[in-house]
């Protein structure tokens, strides 16, 4: 069940009505949990087994950790159990075939594909949202281990946090410290919550349906057979993909935040005009913020962050971005995408910190190179294989001219959004967009 469907509309009306009626009774969290499981089980009821298992295990693990000495080995051991369990789930359902294929190729083995070990004839499928909820659940056990959060004693409340339907399948990846306390008591629902939520939902819906889906038509055409197209088409398709993935992902996040907001919950901001970033570090503080900060807090900082000298900082950055690339997909081209960002950040870290770059380099120039670099890296993200990515890069730089046949309407729409974001970020001009009639006209046009 996706947000931009009629099915979700009906589901949400029912879920919201029930939630609203029950919010002054103890049944409000069980109701939210039921709604979340219906939402998730709509894809495939068997997925529920995984999420219930993952939730129950982390709940029990933290209960046991709570009985262990605070800095003792018992706690650490149970934390390892939780992390290994979550990563094993992810590893099996998302990465098993990748590893098997590579091991077979490297060592000439004959390991059978993961689907063969599925019990009871169940289909081997990547469960929707598994990358999100396992990370969210891990944040609870790790934060408990670190003493940042108290143990949640109510299983229903914890399960609702782990499966909260607005952000279950595509984030934002919430921290237990931020979201779990919101389930302690029913949030107040004010008109402001409803109007904010509806506006965010509308923006997300527009990004997804009117923009992302449209751009995807051109991107798919070109990227499905890159050998048939020249430099301009490949360049424009890459440009369009940069915006397509932004509209798609940020649109979905907007809808998630909007739905949660209407129910009185606060989900974290996940995108902050990433294509206005003036450096690669800046880009990662604006793009998929919930994931970037997750990796920062649970991978980069535990590795030592930037506290142990430049060389180790670069190593840590490299590890984080390689893992981030792998998190996005089980294929080499995703790992290369992550590596490109790691190399980009390592190479430009010193430059971005220099006084000249910060104060004298024109903002537009900084934005332009960051956008160009990000687009270049997107080639490796979007291509179906590493070979195809390389083919696209070589054909772009070979200067093969062919009419790209990219619709002007598509480019005009992207240009309009870009101009909107630039205006929005400009202290001098943003007043134009905050004027009531402009906001009303924009919203009405988006609906129509």
């Amino acid at each position: 069940m996706l947000f931009h469907t009629w099915t979700f509309l009906i589901f949400f009306l029912v879920a919201f009505a029930g939630y609203f009626s029950l919010r002054r009774t103890p049944l409000w969290t069980p109701w939210l949990l039921l709604a979340s499981y219906v939402f998730y089980g709509w894809w495939n009821p068997f997925y529920l087994i995984l999420i219930v298992y993952s939730t129950a295990l982390d709940f029990v693990v933290v209960e046991i950790m709570d009985r262990c000495a605070v800095r003792g080995p018992g706690r650490r051991a149970w934390l390892v159990v939780s992390i290994v369990n979550n990563l094993s789930l992810l590893g099996f359902f998302k990465y098993a075939d990748f590893f098997i294929e590579n091991l077979n190729t490297l060592f000439g083995l004959q390991i059978e594909e993961a689907a063969r070990v599925m019990p009871f004839g169940l289909e081997y499928l990547l469960p929707v949202g598994i990358s999100f909820y396992t990370f969210q659940s891990m944040s609870y056990t790790i934060d408990f281990y670190r003493g940042k959060i108290a143990r949640e004693r109510n299983f229903i409340r914890f399960a609702t946090f782990a499966a909260f339907f607005p952000q279950l399948v595509a984030g934002p990846i919430e921290r237990a410290t931020h979201l779990l306390p919101q389930f302690l008591r029913p949030p107040a629902i004010t008109t402001r919550h409803l109007t904010d939520g509806a506006t965010l939902f509308l923006i997300g819906l527009f990004k997804k349906i009117a923009l992302s889906n449209y751009l995807a038509l051109y991107v798919e055409r070109i990227y499905d057979s890159p050998a048939d197209y020249g430099s301009a088409a490949l360049l424009l398709a890459t440009f369009c993909f940069a915006w397509q993935i932004y509209f798609d992902f940020s649109g979905y996040t907007d809808m998630a935040r909007g739905v949660a907001r209407m129910m009185g919950f606060d989900l974290m901001l996940n995108f902050y005009h990433p294509y206005l970033a003036t450096g690669l570090s800046d880009f990662w503080s604006r793009w998929h913020i919930s994931l970037s900060t997750w990796f920062r807090d649970y991978v980069y900082l535990p590795l030592g962050g930037n506290r142990r000298g430049a060389l180790l900082t670069y190593r840590n950055l490299l590890i984080v971005f390689l893992v981030s690339g792998f998190w996005h997909g089980a294929a080499w081209h995703f790992i290369v995408w992550g590596a490109l960002h790691a190399v980009g950040i390592v190479l430009t870290r010193a430059l971005e910190r220099s006084g000249w770059y910060r104060e004298r380099c024109p903002v537009s120039l900084k934005r332009a190179w960051v956008f160009a670099f990000v687009c270049f890296a997107w080639i490796f993200f979007r291509a179906r294989t590493l070979d195809e990515a390389w083919l696209i890069v070589t054909r772009i730089f070979a200067g093969i001219w062919q009419d790209p046949a990219c619709p002007l309407l598509m480019l005009a729409l992207v240009a309009a959004v870009w101009a909107y974001q630039l205006t929005s970020a400009s202290k001098r001009l943003q007043g134009i967009l905050t004027a009531g009639p402009v906001r009303i006209a924009t919203a009405a046009s988006m609906v129509i």
């Binding site: 402001r192 409803l194 904010d196 619709p407 943003q430 905050t434 906001r439 609906v447 129509i448």
Partner: protein
């Protein structure tokens, strides 16, 4: 951010688009006004002057908004009898001047009375949906409904087979109320079909898409060869596409316009669906009741199916079906006619007459006292 309360710590978004309650009310009012007025105003802006023998162009068969407009226009023009049905009424092998409604109009005293309200590719399950949601202009009119028993020749044609099938006019079939075993669309697709049928704004926007762009939508149209630099707004010429002057697939000069067989005898064995199990028959019955409930004077014309095609041993079940149908019409006191079988060479296939076939059928119908009494 505009309108943000001081104690609101919610990190809303990096942009300025944030509406408060009053502004949302204005937005909803604008959208409702647009939804209400745009289709109506469009009726005035778009030229639609259908000729006497107008039928929905084949390419616009899925434009149900245009179908309603066609009915409205015909009703406004004083045309009094609407002939509804599938491609037999629409005229699969013939030009607009070779259809049943055309030849009925040629009968003495009937000039300009009959409207071709058939749609290519329809079948009773879809016809029911079409009339329910787009047939309001028919209210209180005389309606001839064609009953085509072809839809009961097999479980597949009846849509009662278990194996999944793709079929025309999917948006018009019952989405939830009647289980159709071979129809496996997901819930969201079904809800989307329902919304397109029930909300005039959606069917109007579909009309714009089908008439001026690609049926799959404006985005897909801009990606078609040569359209990438075109202005989509310039496409909307406010003139509904018409049938081509010369359709290579239809009319007496078309290679398709020829008798179904040289010999005139067939050995077709149909797997007739028993009346009690037929989804198409049940839909047809619901359609007739719906028309009656809307105050329509209904006349059902049964067939005539091309019996020449049916093997001898396969005719009794067909005759039984036909008798059962007649019995139901009698029980319900619904006017009906069963015109005699046409000569074999006047059929193009199992159910579609050729031009001369329609001419003969119109003559047969108009010659019966029942028809004369009903159509007065």
């Amino acid at each position: 951010m505009p309108g943000e309360s001081q104690n609101d710590s919610f990190d809303y978004a990096p942009h300025a688009l944030r509406l408060d309650g009053r502004e949302w009310i204005i937005v909803i009012a604008i959208v409702l006004l647009f939804a209400l007025l745009a289709p109506r105003l469009w009726n005035r802006a778009e030229r639609f002057e259908p000729p006497a023998d107008y039928r929905m162009p084949y390419a616009l068969s899925d434009d149900y908004w245009l179908y309603r407009r066609h009915l409205e226009k015909a009703a406004d023009d004083g045309r009094s009898v609407f002939v509804i049905g599938d491609s037999v009424i629409w005229g699969e092998y013939v030009t607009p001047h070779g259809t049943l409604s055309h030849f009925l109009n040629e009968q003495p005293g009937h000039t300009h009375r009959f409207v071709n309200a058939g749609v290519n590719g329809l079948f009773p399950l879809a016809l029911e949906g079409l009339i329910r949601d787009f047939g309001q202009p028919l209210k209180g009119r005389k309606v001839i409904v064609h009953a085509n028993l072809l839809w009961m020749t097999s479980p597949e044609a009846d849509l009662s087979a278990e194996k999944e099938q793709k079929f025309n006019h999917e948006p018009l079939v019952p989405q939830f109320s009647v289980p159709i075993p071979c129809y496996r669309a997901k819930t969201d697709r079904r809800l989307s079909h329902l919304a397109n049928r029930k909300v005039s704004l959606f069917s109007w926007s579909k009309h714009l898409q089908i008439s001026y762009f690609d049926p799959t939508g404006v985005p897909a149209w801009t990606l078609e060869k040569g359209n990438d630099r075109r202005n989509p707004l310039a496409q909307i010429t406010r003139k509904i596409p018409e049938e081509p002057d010369h359709d290579p697939d239809r009319g007496e000069t078309s290679p398709r316009h020829r008798p179904w067989s040289e010999g005139g005898r067939g050995s077709q064995n149909f797997a007739w669906v028993p009346p009690g199990e037929s989804l198409q028959r049940a839909a047809f019955q619901r359609l007739v009741r719906l028309l009656q409930s809307r105050g329509n004077e209904v006349l059902v014309v049964i067939g005539p199916l091309n019996e020449h095609m049916i093997a001898d041993e396969n005719r009794p079940p067909y005759q039984n079906l036909k008798r059962e149908m007649v019995r139901w019409f009698d029980e319900q006191k619904i006017s009906h006619l069963s015109p005699p079988l046409l000569p074999g060479d006047l059929y193009g296939d199992a159910s579609h007459p050729l031009t001369a076939g329609y001419q003969r059928l119109a003559g047969e119908l108009a010659g019966t006292p029942e028809f004369q009494a009903w159509s007065k």
